[in-house]
Symmetry: C2
DNA sequence: ACCTGAACACCGTTCAAGT
DNA sequence: ACCTGAACACCGTTCAAGT
């Protein structure tokens, strides 16, 4: 996470990517430009192009960097249900540490999540589940987890233009009556995520 | 879907948005610029600003337009489980008709999905489910559906730079052994989506 | 009311040049 | 090997002007 300037040459790929992720965390995706990144690095903006071919590669690097924070406990043992559930909880935690980067991850496919999926798949197949069924479970729970985080980190409807008042207000009961009633108790992201996670897992278990 | 030129003035908000969605469908989000849209409309690019305040509003309009295609059967009756499942299937269908627009929908919150959620919530509460539980079910199944579609419409890992050969190849078995085995039977998006949908629904039912 | 077109402050990327 | 800086072809948006 900390980004120390390398010893020899001023720049390298990893350092650039960590700084870029930091920039996204602070100012959002819109704020990340090659030129602004140059300022951040204290270097001519074009210097980055010596280490990375283009901005797309920079995004790919950011995706990698975030997923790399998901260190699934290596020798974890126990019921496969708990293993998968903990994996998804860990994934959610990491994504929520980089809310403004989540749209990139959700949108730009990368090899790193495949690697994570492969590990998770390994646990399930080791527990005796057939390959195709393991894939369904990992893919569907992964889709749910990312979808849920995406909804959580999205700015409130109405956009940046919405007044702070509107955002603070609970919800107009006349426009969305059922939603208003359901949300009256306040938003409970953690409990809701757990509810869905357990539901899907239970459903996959008892077939 | 069809975009007929309005009779009186050359432009109006709806026509502009329908054309913009068509442009996104054809050339992707990157290809949608205010200037290119102007060309598409056969009009000075700046004319759009008379009808929409900025590009963000254009995106919001696109999100609305896509969600508007989700016409949940109004008087549908039956088991609430089937109602919700059909709603999610319908949502998935519509999103898959606009693959290149999905990243926008997944990323830019809007009021339209809230309206859809409110309808779905109404069915569940009418069926006797408590408000908070209804919300969990709709929110979690919605998150799952969007997450699943997002994974389906994402371009293959390796990006546009990947050669056609790489994309065609099944999967390197040495890098992701478990994934390779699980995916050997080919990708079955529909069955996988159904599996996850039924699993989560079953899990929410038998508590 | 509705559209045009010049202008401004930005972009990403290329490429020759510097050290 | 590594970084600089000018240049090119784009952007979104503002605003005065046209009809």
């Amino acid at each position: 996470m900390s980004a120390e300037r390398p010893a020899g040459p001023a720049l390298n790929r990893d350092y650039i990517i960590r700084m870029a992720l930091g920039l996204v965390d602070r100012v959002g995706i819109e704020g990340l430009s090659m030129r602004e990144l140059g300022v951040e690095l204290g270097v001519d903006p074009m210097a980055v192009y010596y280490h990375l071919p283009n901005k797309a590669a920079l995004f790919d690097g950011i995706v990698e960097a975030v997923y790399a924070e998901v260190d699934v406990a290596p020798g974890a043992s126990g019921d496969w249900r708990e293993l998968v559930a903990n994996f998804m909880r860990r994934l959610r935690e990491v994504l929520r540490r980089h809310p403004r980067a989540v749209p990139i991850l959700a949108t730009r496919p990368s090899y790193t999540p495949k690697s994570l999926a492969d590990q998770a798949l390994g646990s399930l197949q080791a527990a005796g589940l057939p390959p195709r069924r393991s894939l369904d479970i990992v893919a569907c729970l992964g889709a749910y987890t990312i979808g849920h985080v995406l909804a959580e980190v999205s700015p409130p409807a109405g956009g940046e233009t919405a007044t702070a008042e509107e955002a603070a207000e609970p919800m107009a009961p006349d426009t969305f009556p059922h939603l208003a009633r359901a949300v009256a108790g306040g938003y409970r992201g953690d409990e809701q995520f757990e509810a869905g996670l357990r539901a899907m897992l239970a459903g996959f278990t008892s077939d």
